[in-house]
């Protein structure tokens, strides 16, 4: 089955992460190549799984266009990670800098693991009538491409703040190191979650760590989380030195953040908002209905519009604008997953 192939790809993404870390610390070129090679291998297997999934969908739906596997939460997560890894490898190739791979592989590992930990169904399902639309296809595909761009922008923005902040007591520095530390902890936690689960469908995220039934393990986990966050907060300047020796400086991070958002924003506008509106008009008879998903997409749009306009505000340069890119991705995540988990609406990904 396709999800088994995709699980292998996810496993390789997770393996790639420590290799990138070793590269970051040792600066060995060979390790760098190994890291890229493993990430690329993961991407290839991922693509094979994607194509296989497409075939499985086609067997049910008998439609070339409507068989593109992006129609439920599992498939959307898989497609998002595909865009994230593909997009990142393109940047790595274009700028010949590998250090960002540590964070991209961490994020890719966490998100692909969510398919096991949110209890989402991985079975191929026939399309319900509302989802049979070419607009939907364009809407979802472009949305996830833009989300992937925002994700890379989030990583570079958070690193930019860590690298360029003058004070460790500033809110943006604390928030960025908190998020990076939390990301790293989550990465390790989801691996433990998956390793210790006999049947993945019954495991919830953080169940084997923070939410462990044993008070000892749970306490240790909380202490670990706290030390990860404090650790990141403390070693911010060391990260800066590490990155600088790998030719990643504050200007580069700022530039990539801007590039990612300048690329993602128009894609999000056309795919997320406009195509979504056209689809809604055809399926439900209204282009806009303040459905929670729609509303949060608009909020996401406003946050990134804020980012793009912030350079025109007097005194807003550098890390101050990067914090908006960080917040923007948190809002994006909420639009993508949070709305379905916490608010009700019309979008099909809500049903897991």
């Amino acid at each position: 089955m396709s999800y088994q192939v995709i699980a292998i790809a996810g496993f390789i993404y997770i393996i790639a992460m420590p290799i990138y870390v070793v590269h970051l610390i040792t600066k060995s070129k060979k390790v760098g190549y190994l890291a890229t090679a493993s990430f690329l291998l993961g991407l290839l297997i991922h693509l094979i799984g994607f194509v296989q999934r497409y075939k499985e969908m086609y067997a049910i739906n008998q439609s070339l266009l409507h068989s593109i596997p992006i129609t439920n939460l599992y498939e959307s997560i898989v497609f998002f990670v595909l865009c994230l890894v593909g997009g990142y490898l393109f940047i790595e190739w274009k700028y010949k800098k590998k250090a960002l791979g540590v964070f991209v592989s961490t994020l890719a590992g966490i998100i692909i693991s969510l398919t096991d930990l949110l209890g989402v169904t991985k079975e191929v399902q026939p399309l319900v009538p509302a989802l049979k639309s070419n607009w939907l296809l364009a809407h979802v595909t472009l949305s996830f491409i833009s989300y992937a761009a925002f994700a890379v922008g989030f990583i570079t923005a958070a690193l930019h703040i860590v690298v360029a902040s003058e004070s460790k007591k500033s809110f943006k520095y604390i928030l960025s190191t908190f998020l990076l530390g939390f990301m790293l902890f989550t990465f390790i936690s989801v691996i433990i979650d998956i390793l210790y689960s006999s049947n993945p469908k019954t495991v919830r995220i953080f169940q084997s760590t923070l939410g462990n039934s044993s008070a000892v393990v749970s306490t240790i986990s909380w202490i670990a989380l706290l030390s990860f966050i404090l650790g990141f907060w403390y070693i911010g300047d060391k990260i800066k030195n590490l990155l600088t020796t790998l030719r990643i400086d504050s200007d580069f991070l700022e530039e990539i953040t801007y590039k990612m958002i300048a690329f993602g924003f128009p894609i999000f506008t056309i795919g997320g908002l406009v195509f979504g509106a056209i689809w809604a008009e055809q399926a439900w008879g209204r282009y806009w209905g303040w459905d929670p998903k729609e509303t949060w997409s608009l909020i996401t749009w406003f946050v990134y519009a804020f980012y793009l306009h912030s350079k025109f505000i007097r005194g807003w340069r550098g890390t101050k604008t990067s914090i908006i890119a960080v917040l923007g991705f948190l809002v994006t995540l909420f639009t993508y997953l949070g709305v379905n988990l916490f608010l009700s609406g019309l979008h099909s990904y809500g049903s897991m």
Partner: protein, 465 residues
């Protein structure tokens, strides 16, 4: 008088500032977010119940006072949200007017060289020493710049030659396209609010109607009648997952069927709306309702011969080729069997229609359920009796709307996308090249790596590397 002018200027500055725009982004976002949390357009008790989930009751009641005062249970149609959107539009207009002169200036090519002190103040500088003739290197450089889509303006100064290079500077104008398109979208929404119409109409299979209910609960008569000949739900093979919902309709105007493109039968499906006289109909819901004209259609197999048998509810009919009279005495749209073997109706949609048939042969009477999708249930002592269709027992729920603003929304959205793509994918770039003695100096007002690497490539070619 001057005091008034100053006040005017301050107001103008306030409305043209990016600060206001950004503040509006934030406030509108927060307002919109509140609307996704607090139940919207619902009765007070639902809102209070929502709060009481995490607050004590008396506090919930107090909170509801605030909610109803600020229309937080109807955020998107509240006076303050409308006001914020109005401010947003005003900000866009005034900001655009305010910035136009400066923008036009920045697009124009300079008519005289920039002072040398200005060039020297530019952050990034790249230089190399050339050995060939000046004219030769100049020509080569101009060609290279042209090849990279830069337009160039040359000035001879006392120190040397100053070249002003720019690319895609006109893409700055696309900002206007983007901002203007947002105004069009807002205008489209306004038109829809004031001149639009929305509601729904339910039609039972085999009947026609023009009585519709608007979203605000007011009934209206459409200028034409809609007849529903048939409604069907198609399922994926061997499952109860619906594949398609379909209404077969006709439009009746002045007692006649309306023909469009020589067709008078139309199909409305999810994602395939139907439009007549600017009113668009969408497949929205459906339901089950037994009526007088409901027809149960059977296929009866007797001695290798197939007969079609139609039955009305509770009316007797003879089974062909036999002495048996049958009638339908009960019906279920979706018959299920519970753990104790009892039948029950599990859904109001026609997932598995079933009819309870009374068989009468002389004095002998018995009854039996026949389920449309369960072949085992078709067997009777007289032959196979298959329930093929229950017609006239469903209604289709069509949503309709008339929104003259949609065209504006589409135009605005298209312009918005075009504008954004030009704005963000064709970043304007300008820089200076200075030829002084045997040196070529590039002055770049940017540190962007992608730009610098492009310039490096030009430099490498220039040096013949």
């Amino acid at each position: 008088m001057s005091k008034l002018n100053r006040l005017n200027e301050k107001i103008w500055q306030f409305f043209s500032s990016v600060d206001l725009a950004v503040a509006l982004f934030i406030v509108i976002s927060i307002g919109a977010a509140i609307g996704t949390v607090i139940p919207q357009r619902s009765e007070p008790d639902i809102v209070i119940k929502f709060f009481s989930k995490f607050l004590p009751m008396n506090l919930s009641l107090n909170l509801y006072e605030i909610v109803s005062l600020l229309d937080l249970n109807n955020v998107y149609h509240s006076w303050w949200f409308t006001f914020l959107l109005f401010m947003f539009a005003l900000n866009l207009v005034i900001c655009s007017i305010d910035r136009l002169p400066n923008l036009l200036k920045s697009i124009k090519k300079p008519t005289q060289p920039y002072p040398e002190s200005f060039l020297r103040s530019i952050s990034t500088k790249k230089e190399f020493i050339y050995k060939s003739k000046r004219q030769e290197i100049l020509e080569k450089m101009l060609n290279l710049l042209k090849h990279n889509k830069f337009s160039t303006t040359l000035f001879e100064t006392s120190q040397g030659i100053q070249i002003y290079c720019s690319r895609w500077s006109k893409s700055r104008l696309a900002v206007y396209l983007t901002h203007f398109s947002i105004l069009i979208i807002l205008a489209g929404a306004l038109v829809g609010t004031f001149f639009g119409l929305r509601g729904y109409i339910n039609i039972v299979e085999g009947t026609s109607s023009n009585l519709a209910i608007l979203d605000n609960g007011r009934p209206i008569y459409l200028p034409f009648e809609i007849a529903c000949d048939k409604f069907e739900v198609e399922f994926y093979e061997n499952s109860s997952v619906p594949k398609a919902y379909r209404s077969y309709i006709r439009i009746i105007e002045d007692g006649k069927n309306v023909k469009l493109n020589n067709k008078e039968n139309f199909v409305v499906e999810v994602n395939e709306p139907f439009t007549y006289k600017n009113i668009t109909f969408y497949q929205a819901t459906y339901g089950f309702q037994l009526t007088e004209h409901t027809l149960f259609k059977f296929k009866f197999l007797n001695n290798e011969k197939e007969y079609l048998v139609n039955l009305e509810f509770e009316k007797k009919n003879k089974l062909p080729n036999t002495n048996v009279y049958i009638s339908v005495i009960d019906f279920s749209p979706a018959l299920g069997v519970d753990e104790e073997g009892r039948f029950f109706t599990m859904d109001s949609s026609m997932i598995n229609p079933a009819a309870l048939i009374l068989f009468e042969e002389g004095n002998r009477k018995f009854h039996k359920w026949i389920l449309a999708r369960v072949p085992e249930s078709w067997q009777t002592p007289y032959g196979q009796l298959k329930l093929t269709e229950v017609w006239g027992a469903q209604f289709t729920g069509l949503q309709f709307k008339k929104d003259p603003g949609v065209i504006l929304i589409y135009i605005g959205s298209t312009l918005l996308c075009v504008g954004l793509f030009i704005c963000l994918f064709f970043r304007p770039l300008r820089f200076f090249v200075f030829l002084e003695g045997n040196k070529v100096i590039f002055y770049l007002p940017t540190k962007k790596e992608s730009v610098l690497s492009e310039i490096d490539k030009i430099l490498n070619k220039l040096e013949g590397k």
